[in-house]
Amino acid sequence: MRPSSPSPEPDDARAVRERIIGLGSGSARKSYYPQLKEKIRDLEAKQLELMDTVRTLEERESELERLVDEKEALLKEVHHRVKNNFQVIGSLLNLGLGLAGSNEEAAAFAKTKRRIDTMAMVYGQLLAAESFAELELCSLVRNVVNALFYEAELRDVELSYDLSCLDLHLSVERAIPLALILAEAASNALEHAFPTGGGKLAVRLGFANDAPGTIRLAVEDDGPGPRSGGLPEPDSSLGLTLIEALAAQLKALWRYERRGEGPGLRFVLELRP
């Protein structure tokens, strides 16, 4: 057992006595008010801190919005320039076409120009939609085929579409090869299937019934078919070589087939999901 502290000295004793009878410093009567005030002060400080955080977040958000707007504007500008460049290339090819020494040379220029035009058109559609990641597939198909059809000036050929692809979108990376393949197939038909200048050209797009998720694109004519009597083969022309290469890029299957009993040829492209 140890005694606590030594007995208070008279001076200490006086101080203790003062505090006991309530006259010393800190001898206030019990009051919750200072505690409450402190709590309120704490809460107010916390509120200010939170408001500050909210302000910072709002500033950061508008800064991010500004950055996104800037990036979008930049992206639009880039696509615009790409499209313009395609047009310049197209003009250069036109010039080349005018200066071509032979019909074959002129045809080569014309085909190249047509391919460049198709790519330019894809960019045109991107710019018009103001969406740079994806393209609406139906519009793309119509735009590609319409452009070729009107350029071919085959007034007696009847063009029809059967497109069931509600709101189907493709990424730009897949849309450009698909547009080029479609352009090759449609050009082939327009160039070879209507020797008399008349006939029917049908473009179909939809999901394959026998392969869920697979998009099937078909270009059909009612022309006489290849002079050889067979079907067009890969590597038999630059166009088909291109189709082969682009389809491989898309991991898509393609083929030419007879249209049932009647005349005509059908190009089919199957794009898996």
């Binding site: 057992m1 140890r2 005694p3 606590s4 502290s5 030594p6 007995s7 208070p8 008279p10 004793a13 006086r14 203790v16 006595r17 505090r19 006991i20 009878i21 309530g22 006259l23 010393g24 800190g26 001898s27 206030a28 009567r29 019990k30 009051s31 919750y32 505690q35």
Partner: protein
């Protein structure tokens, strides 16, 4: 000495409701303090007498949820306070209702101090060492003596040092006392006598204190008058509500007096002795008081003359100090004998070393600073020898 009517003083007292039925206001005050979950602090004896259950029922009827802490021993221990504070925080309580005598009420004060300030209850030892006020505390006293329901004092047993520590702080004054004399009729004769002598000692020491004031004097003398007239009756006729009520009023007035004027050497010695020997606090006071009067009287004869006149109803003012000490001491001894409290503590003799340790602890007690005469260690030892067997 400065004119006591000129000297700067203050008087601290809680709100109190006194009289039959006061206890029934408990739930009302729980609502007034916005409590959603009071902690009821009581002890087994008070629970067995049915008073804790009465408070529980009142809170229940008012639709209040509550928690209970009844593990309080006589001379409440620091570990009990810590367990109670832990329960208070764990049960997310927001108010304390203390039901009982000094032990549950002091324990409740310690619980409150720890609940708001953290740390250990012994950290608050001394004067004004409780920085933050405790949660609202409603006291329902069931004894007439301690006045812990009114005072700024809480006495806790430091079990490791085997001594009682005093926590004295304005923040320890309860918010309200609901003093219902009916709760005191279940006390047995011994408890009634011991607690009653505690109240008388409060009045004596507050009046003789060197920090007394006109307001504390008023309360102290009236307390002595009421206690002298009613204590023997309350002990002899436990169901006498008139005597019980006068005793409870005496305890209340003595409490108001000592809470503001503080105490003296009797309490300083009783804290040390009660802590070491785990004796009833009232008994220690009852045995020591007459010896302390004899010791103090030369320093404040007019004070003891006034106390003696009220206690015994005979004129003493102007008499020599030794005569006053003799008359008052004999009057106190007579009262003690009538109450059957004995002459000395019946224990194995203590060593001289133990008595000198007790004296050192008594001298370190804050109550000693307001004693009218500054005691030396040897004088304290001599006072102890008057009530304790020494080898």
């Amino acid at each position: 000495m400065e004119d006591p009517f000129v000297a700067l003083r203050k008087f601290v007292a809680p709100e109190f409701i006194f009289g039959r039925g006061a206890m029934a206001r408990c739930a009302e005050y729980a609502a007034t303090f916005g409590a959603s979950r009071p902690l009821i602090v009581s002890d087994e004896g008070v629970a067995a007498a049915g008073w804790a259950g009465r408070v529980e029922a009142q809170l229940q009827d008012a639709g209040a949820d509550f928690a209970r802490f009844y593990d309080v021993s006589p001379n409440p221990r620091d570990a009990e306070v810590m367990a109670g504070a832990e329960l208070f925080l764990r049960e997310r309580c927001d108010m304390i209702v203390a039901v009982g005598g000094g032990s549950p009420m002091d324990c409740a004060k310690g619980i409150g101090a720890v609940a708001t300030n953290g740390g250990h209850v012994l950290d608050f030892e001394g004067v004004d060492n409780v920085p933050q006020p405790m949660p609202p505390l409603v006291c329902v006293p069931t004894t007439a003596g301690t006045a812990a329901d009114l005072s700024q004092f809480a006495i806790i047993l430091d079990l490791a040092r085997r001594t009682k520590i005093a926590i004295i702080s304005k923040g320890m004054v309860p918010d309200i006392s609901l003093s219902d004399p009916e709760t005191t009729v279940t006390m047995d004769a011994e408890l009634s006598a011991e607690t009653g002598m505690d109240a008388l000692t409060h009045a004596f020491e507050a009046y003789a204190s060197n920090a007394s004031s006109p307001v504390t004097d008023l309360h102290a003398l009236e307390a002595v008058r009421l206690i002298a007239a009613s204590l023997p009756l309350a002990v002899e006729r436990p169901d006498d509500l008139a005597a019980r009520s006068r005793m409870m009023m005496g305890s209340l007035l003595a409490g108001l007096a000592f809470s503001n004027a503080s105490l003296g050497v009797v309490h300083a010695m009783a804290h040390a002795m009660g802590g070491l020997l785990d004796l009833p606090h009232g008994l220690c006071n009852a045995l020591l008081l007459e010896h302390a009067v004899a010791f103090n009287c030369p320093a404040a004869p007019e004070r003891y003359a006034a106390l003696g006149e009220v206690l015994l109803g005979r004129p003493l003012t102007g008499a020599p100090a030794d005569e006053i000490a003799g008359v008052v001491g004999e009057g106190l001894a007579e009262l003690r004998r009538r109450l059957g409290l004995g002459e000395r503590v019946q224990i194995e003799p203590l060593s001289r070393r133990a008595v000198s340790d007790l004296a050192a602890m008594a001298l370190a007690d804050p109550c000693v600073v307001t004693n009218p005469r500054r005691p030396e260690a040897s004088e304290i030892e001599a006072l102890y020898a008057a009530v304790l067997p020494v080898a």
